[in-house]
Every structure is written in C-alpha cells, then in structure tokens.
C-alpha cells in the first residue's frame, strides 16, 4: 500500500503479452493492471524487464488494449489468500470464486472482474491457543477454528521472519476472518494477526522442521494402483496417456476414493464439463470415511481450456500453495492436476512471445526445472509441533500424439515416484483403468507383500510372452501348460487389474479387501490345473472369471460376498 502508485504506459501488445514503458521501477513477478479505454482493469504479472520496458503476461483477453494505455504496478507478487473457508470453494486460477463471479456477471466470465476469495462476513468459532508472552515463529499456531470436520489452525503468518512475542490474544468467540485475534511484537514492531494471510504462489511454504521419506501407502482403493503401482502419502505420481485413455476418469476416482484428509482438484486447461461433474456431484456424494459430503474436504481450482492461458499457468501454483497451507495443519492433502501438459503449454506460449530460444517441440529450455520444482512441493514433513503433514501430487500428462518420448512426459518421469502409463490399446479393448501392467512402475511400498506381488507379476509377464509366441506359432503350436499360464495372466487382468469405476461397490476396493482378494488370486495362480485340452481350459477360466467378477460386485464382508467366495473355492477344487 504505497501512497505513490507506480505506473507506466503500454508500448506493445502481442497475444496475452503486453509491453510497458515504466516510469520509476518495477519488480519481477509483481502484479500489474492494464487500464483500457473501456475502463477495464486487467490483471497481469511482470515476467521480464529490459531497460525501461517491462513485459507483462496479462491474465485476460487483451482485445481492446491500445498503445499508450496506462498501467499500474501493485508492488505485490502474485499471491493467494489463506484462511478458513477455502474448503468447498470453486476458484479460477487466480483464486476468484467462480460462483460469486456468476452472481455478478451472469452466464459468461467478465474480464477485469475480481472478487475476494474468502467470505468476509462469515463468522468462525475461534479458540485461542497461544498465550501472551509466548515466543512464536512463522507457521506456529495462534488458535483454531473448526472448518467442517477439521481443526483449522490460525498460524503466525508464514512471511514473518524471526521470533514474535504474543502481546495480546482475543478470547474465544465468533469472529469473521478479518478480526484481529492476536498481536505480536518483534523488537519495536508490533503487528496484528487475523485469521487470514497472503502468500506468493510461486514460492514454497517451508515452515516445517524437515522433510521425511514418504513410506505410508496412500490407499486409493484402485486395485492396480494400491497393489501393483502404489503411491505413498507425500509422494508423487503421474498418469500420462493419449486422449481417451482414462486420465480424467482415473483422477475423478482418486478424488472420491482416496484415503486422505483434503483433496485439491486442479482442472488445468482441460474441459470445463469435467469439472462441472465434480462441482455438481460432490455436494451430494457421501464421503464414506466421514459420513459428510465429499465437497467438504475438497477445493476445486478450475482454469479450464477456454479460460485465459496465463491464469492457467498461475492455477498450478495457486493449487499447490493451498495444499501447502493445509499441510501446515498436519493434514494429508492430495493434489490432482489435470493436466500438467496444459500448464507446460501455457509456459510455451509465453516463452514464444518472449522470443526465448526454444527447446524441444518449442517448449522453453527451462521446462524441466519448472516441472521438477512443482513436484518438489509435494512431500511428507515433520512440523515444528512434532506432527506430520503431507502433500501427494498426481499430475496427468497429455503427450502429443500419445508418444511418451516428448518433453513434458520425460521431464515428469525424471522426478516422480510412480508412473502409471495409460495405454491406448487397453482403453480400446475397454480394459479399464487402462494402466499398463508391464510398462508402469512405482518406487513406493504396496499394501501387499512384495514376494506375493512378484509372483503375480511373473505370471503377467509369462502370459504376455506366451501370447506373443502364440502370434507366431498359433494356438495349436502352443503347449496346453503354456496356454494355461496365458489364461491365468488374462484372468488376473480381467478380475483384478480391471475394475469398474462406475460401480458403487467395485469402484471402492479397500486395503483389507484387496489383501483378501489378492490371496485368492494367488491360490488360483499357484493351483496346478490339468485340462484335457485348451477348449476345456478356456471354458473353465471363463466360468471362474464370471464368478470372480460377480464376487467383485458384492459388498465387502456381506453374506453375498461370503457365498461368492465359497462358489469360487469349490470351482477351484473341482477344476482340473
């Protein structure tokens, strides 16, 4: 809030990049506003300074901007507001609440219209925690409010350097977020603390003791993930695949079923319609873990493909900053970004306008380091109070032509801990989720012991080899024993790797159930069947498959589940 506003004048417009001759000084990455003849005030971010000219990436359509238009520099880096009330919100990439925008502007978005991210009126039941005289550092707890089922911590602002002594605290009571709830001093300086603080999105929040190795599995209830290609709380994973392979459906499944506290959905540069499904359904879908609604643990950042491209770039950072905020409260957060390729493309568009020397496929040469530093913001941390918080990041990747040998996929593979390769062939054959069982990998620990998984994996590999061989020598040239191996691998695929995402029961396969069912699968893999011929073998496995799929549709530990299991057991016993 400097009294003298720094300004400049537009000298050029190239797509969403506006060049400005500035009068006094500018700061890299500060927010600036372009004032049009039509009285629009368009937000942008300084991304380059050369001589007396700054280049601004404008977060809005630049139609109508003229050379000579006035520009105001804010002196603030691009930031988000952090405080109670973030959960259940639907924001654009710059943290404007979309439902509020709709109330103001109607059917369409209106450029230059910005609205406070948090409700200023709403009151929260505040309980103080810090006492007068306490010496605190950035990120330490001042007090808390209940936000849904969570205890939302009000923390000493992350940006405050040094130690601060609490000089005053508010009593417990209902306050809005702008109410001063504590005062603190550092030397001669005394400051007010409210329930809301701001933080620049491109800088990681690092008010914790140390980063820990992610070990605990994050149960997603997707069998092929939890058993074969697991994810850890605080880990990173990516889901590259061509269009239509099931990236978004998979992310939606993860957003509903994953056993974490908070889910942040970053709809980055893809279809608006897909977010609408979440937006409209989550308020009604029950969160099986808490009995409340899924929306109560969710934040949606929605900067879809036809929304401004520069704001798309920002949306990734906005999302991860919100994730870091809740991690600071000792919660486990899952960030789902669909798709990081659109973010990379936004970077590419801007890099092109800046006429930087391009790397492969015209992506900027620094793409890799940006991708790496995004995923680095994931992690399991030990907070200063001894508790732990985590951010798990899942990025979908949309490679051009479905070819993984492209810069974004490659840059991502270098940094993630688990790679779920979505395959066009599997999607075409409706083998969903189309995660490739041989191409994918994970560095994390499974919910099933390693040696057991290796057995199943070996069978998948053998089955694949037999299948390849059969393409050369035909079924008649294949020994029945090999053929049975092939049938077993197909069986694993059909009843375990494949899962019906749209079925209420089958879509959510908890850890215990997976362990139980996997053992049954192993029984079958190990069982030495003898069949008179291949047709007999095939028809036996078709029957077994049918029973097993029916079993998958029975609720865990229900009577039908037990009956289904008995049916399978007797079929195995009588099978030859």
């Amino acid at each position: 809030m400097s009294d003298m506003l720094l300004t400049g004048k537009v000298t050029g417009v190239n797509g969403n990049m506006v060049s400005v001759a500035f009068d006094d000084r500018v700061t890299q990455n500060e927010v600036a506003f372009v004032l049009t003849d039509g009285n629009d005030r368009l937000k942008g971010e300084v991304i380059r300074v050369r001589g007396r000219e700054a280049d601004i990436q404008v977060f809005e359509s630049t139609t109508g901007i003229k050379v000579g238009n006035k520009v105001e520099f804010s002196g603030q880096l691009l930031s988000v507001e952090l405080g109670p009330g973030l959960l259940t919100q639907v924001y654009d990439g710059l943290q404007n609440p979309l439902p509020e925008l709709a109330k103001e502007a109607g059917y369409f978005l209106k450029r230059g219209l910005y609205i406070y991210p948090l409700d200023r009126e709403k009151t929260w039941d505040y309980s103080p925690a810090a006492k007068v005289g306490d010496c605190l550092k950035a990120g330490d707890t001042i007090g808390s409010v209940p936000e849904g089922i969570f205890t939302h911590r009000v923390m000493l602002p992350f940006a405050w350097a040094g130690e601060w002594e609490i000089t005053w605290t508010a009593e417990a009571g209902a306050y809005n977020i702008d109410t001063v709830v504590a005062k603190a001093k550092n030397g001669d300086e005394e400051r007010n603390i409210t329930m809301v603080q701001t933080w620049p999105v491109k800088i990681p929040i690092s008010c914790y003791d140390e980063k820990l190795m992610p070990r605990e599995p994050l149960v997603t209830q997707v069998r092929i993930i939890d058993t074969f290609f697991p994810v850890a709380k605080g880990g990173t994973f990516c889901t590259p695949g061509p269009f239509g392979a099931g990236k978004t459906v998979l992310q939606h499944a993860l957003s509903q079923r994953s056993e974490v506290d908070i889910v942040i959905v970053a709809a980055c540069g893809e279809r608006a319609g897909e977010v609408v499904e979440i937006l409209r359904e989550f308020p009604h879908l029950e969160d099986p873990r808490t009995g409340r609604h899924l929306i109560d643990r969710t934040i949606i950042i929605c900067n879809t493909s036809s929304m401004p491209v520069a704001a798309r770039e920002a949306s990734i950072y906005t999302s991860v900053t919100l994730a870091e905020y809740y991690r600071q409260m000792g919660l486990s957060v899952l960030l789902l970004a669909d798709s990081t390729s659109r973010w990379a493309q936004a970077l590419r568009e801007m890099s092109g306008r800046l006429e930087e020397i391009p790397g492969e496929e015209a992506f900027p040469a620094y793409l890799e380091s940006l991708v790496a530093s995004f995923y680095e913001r994931a992690g399991l941390v030990r907070l200063r109070d001894g508790g732990q918080g985590s951010i798990t990041i899942c990025g979908s990747v949309s490679p051009a032509g479905g070819n993984f040998e492209e810069p974004v996929t490659q840059a991502t593979l270098k940094v993630v801990g688990s790679f779920l390769a979505l395959s066009r062939d599997r999607a075409n054959a409706r083998r969903y989720p189309a995660i490739h069982p041989l191409d994918s990998w994970s560095k994390y620990h499974s919910i099933v012991p390693k040696d057991k998984i290796n057995e199943a994996r070996a069978m998948l590999r053998t089955g694949n080899e037999v299948n390849q061989m059969m393409k050369v020598v035909g079924e008649e040239g294949t020994p029945t024993s090999d053929f049975v191996q092939y049938l077993k691998s197909e069986f694993i695929d059909a009843v375990y790797l494949q899962q019906n995402t749209f079925d209420k029961v089958d879509s959510g396969c908890g850890a215990e159930r997976q362990q139980h069912v996997f053992d049954k699968l192993l029984d079958i893999i190990r069982h030495k069947f003898t069949f008179p011929d291949k047709d007999a073998a095939r028809s036996f496995f078709q029957r077994l498959r049918q029973d097993f799929i029916d079993w998958n549709y029975c609720p865990w530990e229900s009577d039908t589940f037990k009956a289904g299991e008995e049916k399978i057991d007797s079929l195995i016993k009588n099978g030859k």
Partner: protein, 439 residues
C-alpha cells in the same frame, strides 16, 4: 469518421503492417486495394506499428493502399433476422438478402463461467447403433468426426443433424467444396429446416484466412440463441482442419516458433476457445457442436486431430464408410446411458470387448493358424456385429438395437463367455428357442 492510413510499411504473407496510432488490439480495419476492399484484423501492436491479418489475402495490396480502422472488433447481428440467411466467411450476405445491422455483438466473446454449466443429461438419438449404443451423443456435446478425405463425412453430419431434435442449426463451412455446400442446402431444404438454419459459408475457392472468422461467427450466433432465447442449437463446423491450416499460415507469417509440424504452440488453446462454447444451461438453451476434422494422411497423431481429441468430448472415427468401434468415443455417454436401459452399459462394454477379440482371431486367421472353437465363435460374431451394428445404412431405435445385440450374443456364445454380470444375463438373455432359430 476515423483517420485513413496510406503508409503500409510491410507486406508479408497475408499480414500487413501500417504505422498508426490509437488502434486497439483485435480491432477491425478495411483495406482498400486495386482488387477491392477486404476486412483485416489487428493481431499485434508494437509501438507505432500495427500488424493486420488481411482476410482476403494480401495479393494486390500496394504500399499506398488505404487502411481505415473501424473502431470495433468483428461482430454479428444477434437477431432472429439471421434465420434462413446465408453469409460468407467475412460475414457479408451470400444470399440476396440485406446486410444485418441490428443488435451487433462482438464475436469470440469470453468463456462461459464453469459454475453456470450443468451436467449434460439428454441423449440425442441418431438411429445409428454405433452411436446410440456404443458412443451415445448427448445434447451440449462437442464432438468431431475424424475422417480421411473421400469419406462421406458431410453426409453423416447432415444425417445426424436432420435426425436430431434441436431448435436451430447453424452451419459453419470452412473450405467447403461448392458441391458440399449445395448438398447441405438441399438436404436442409428437403427436411424443411432451412428457415431454422443460419449458414456461414467459406468455400474452397475463397481466400484461405477468411475461414478464420467462421467458427466465431457461428458460435456467437449460437450463444445468442441459446442464452437469450433458450434455444437448443446445433452447430455444424466442417472442416476444422482448414481452420487450423489458416492459423498455421498466419503463425508462420508472424514468425512464431512452431511447436509441431508448423502449427503454432497455441493451437490447443485456439481450438479449445471454440469447442468449449458447447454448453448446457439450467435456465437457458444449449449448444451442441458437431465438427469434421479430416486427418491428413489418415494419421490420428497429426497435430490437428490430436489437439482436437484432447479437447472434444470424444470423436466418431469414420473409416471405409463405417464408424469404427476403436478410436470412436463418446465421453458423455455415461451421463445418459445408465438411464436408457439397465443392460445398455454392460452390453456396450462387452460387445466391444468381444469385437476386439474377434479382431485378434482375424489376425490369427490371416496368418494361417488353425481356428479353435472359440475363434470360430468370434468370427461368426464379428461378421454379425459389423453388419448389424456398424453399417451406416442401419437405422433403428436404441431399444431395438439393444435387443439385436442380445440376440447376436445368444446366437454366438454361451452366457459365461460374454463376461456379462449374471443378473443381467438372467434378465435379458434371449430364450434359447427363438435365439438360435434364424439368421
């Protein structure tokens, strides 16, 4: 009256540069040359220099040609007077009617606020089993037909349009062959649909970049009818590959670094800005977009179909006069196919899975391997499937098509071989006596 500029300092490709001031980004201008007057649009400002893309092309423009800025961006008349009219790629009447001046609105307006969208909920019936059962079309969907040149894609487009229950049709033609233009006109006329149609037609003989405005004009008109009049609008865009090629041309002229085979890095965003105009509202109408994307060299990984596929809600993949089950997709089908009939989803999934297995058997057969019992069953099934489900001449309602699906399965397989849940088999599997009888 605004100032007229006479000093063109650069002509390169279809972009000209003039020195002028007080010009807005995106503004329109008229460029007068020996060949006549063309519209041009400001695409870049750099100090005093203004870059304009000239829609009729730069041929014949001289350094002293006249440039007059119009003070506004491209607009269309948002009015009922559009109905029944035909315009060319530059927005001028192509029929004998008057130019429209009432209620002009800017084209290429902002995106719909996602918070105002609703989940699509109405199936659009086409009578084609390959669509109705397997890739159900849904009101407000954006969906292209991927096709190689020579396939009957415009016929398919017209057929769906005529069958669909919508209030209005808006046809945007880009590089449309004159014959195809006449074909659309005649088909619409035959069905008495001309009076509820608006056409923006850029033909193959018009200057290439002139097609750039077509999608935005068509969609701006569609938005008007959908939001202000609550109409269900169907927008047909053919062929979007021509639109992309025009974008490519301008990008190359502007010396942008291409990302892939000469196409600009923002191709995805450009296409998305158009396709995302497809929408359904709670309290207003809807916009459905059916497009054609011809695939150069029958290559789906070509940047145009590739970027399109990432944006649209599926695609119909037209090969050898049939909609291919593989590669074709309707991403919205699950919004509606749980309410059509209990067996719809299971039948859809399993019939395709079996067809995939049939393809493998065909491959084995072509390599000369002995066919097992199972292969024989699949071969029988595949042939029936192609004839009953894939042929474009089939025209039956969804329910009949589903029954035909069960009948086909029963004629070829035992229930357990199909992988369908037992309770559905119990309910829908045809009684053996009438299933096996004929065919």
């Amino acid at each position: 009256m605004r100032k007229i500029y006479h000093r063109i300092i650069q002509i390169s490709g279809n972009v000209i540069t003039v020195e002028a001031d007080n010009v807005a980004n995106g503004e329109l201008a008229e460029v007068k040359s020996g060949r006549g007057t063309s519209l041009a649009q400001v695409i870049r400002l750099d100090k005093g220099r203004v870059f304009l893309q000239v829609f009729a092309g730069s041929r014949g423009i001289s350094t002293d040609s006249e440039v007059r800025f119009l003070g506004h961006a491209m607009r269309v008349a948002a009015a009922d007077a559009l109905l029944g009219r035909i315009f060319s790629g530059n927005g001028q009447p192509r029929d004998k009617g008057p130019a429209l001046q009432e209620n002009l609105i800017d084209i290429g307006g902002p995106s719909v606020n996602p918070a105002n969208r609703i989940i699509p909920r109405n199936m659009i019936r086409t009578g084609l089993p390959m669509i109705d059962i397997f890739n159900t079309l849904v009101e407000s969907q954006k969906l292209p037909i991927f096709s190689v040149a020579g396939e009957p894609y415009n016929e398919l487009l017209a057929r769906i349009a005529m069958q669909a229950e919508v209030d209005l049709i808006i046809l945007g033609g880009m590089g449309l062959k004159y014959d195809d233009y006449l074909y659309f006109k005649e088909t619409l006329d035959e069905h008495g649909a001309l009076s509820r149609t608006v056409m923006f037609i850029h033909t193959a003989s018009d200057p290439i970049v002139e097609c750039l405005l077509v999608p935005d004009m068509a969609l701006a008109a569609a938005e008007h009818f959908a939001t202000n009049e609550g109409k269900r609008v169907l927008v047909l865009l053919t062929d979007m590959t021509n639109f992309c090629d025009a974008l490519k041309e301008i990008a190359i002229t502007m010396e942008q670094i291409p990302s892939n085979r000469g196409y600009p890095g923002d191709l995805y965003s450009q296409l998305a800005a158009r396709y995302e105009k497809a929408v359904d509202f709670e309290t207003a109408g809807s916009i459905t977009i059916l497009a054609v994307t011809t695939m150069p060299g029958d290559d789906v990984t070509h940047p145009v179909p590739d970027n399109t596929g990432y944006i649209t809600e599926g695609q119909f993949y037209l090969v050898n006069g049939r909609i291919e089950p593989f590669g074709s997709l309707s991403r919205l089908k699950q919004q509606v196919n749980s309410e059509t009939r209990a067996d719809h989803r299971a039948l859809m999934d399993n019939m395709i899975r079996l067809y995939a297995e049939y393809k493998e058997s065909v491959e084995k057969q072509s390599m000369g391997f002995r066919m097992s019992n199972w292969d024989d069953k699949l071969l029988k099934y595949g042939a029936m499937f192609e004839q009953r489900m894939m042929d474009l001449s089939v025209n039956i309602p969804l329910e009949e098509a589903l029954d035909l699906g069960w009948k086909t399965l029963a004629q070829c397989f035992e229930p357990a071989e199909t992988g369908i849940k037992s309770d559905l088999v119990k309910q829908f599997w045809p009684k053996s006596d009438n299933a096996d009888k004929k065919d």
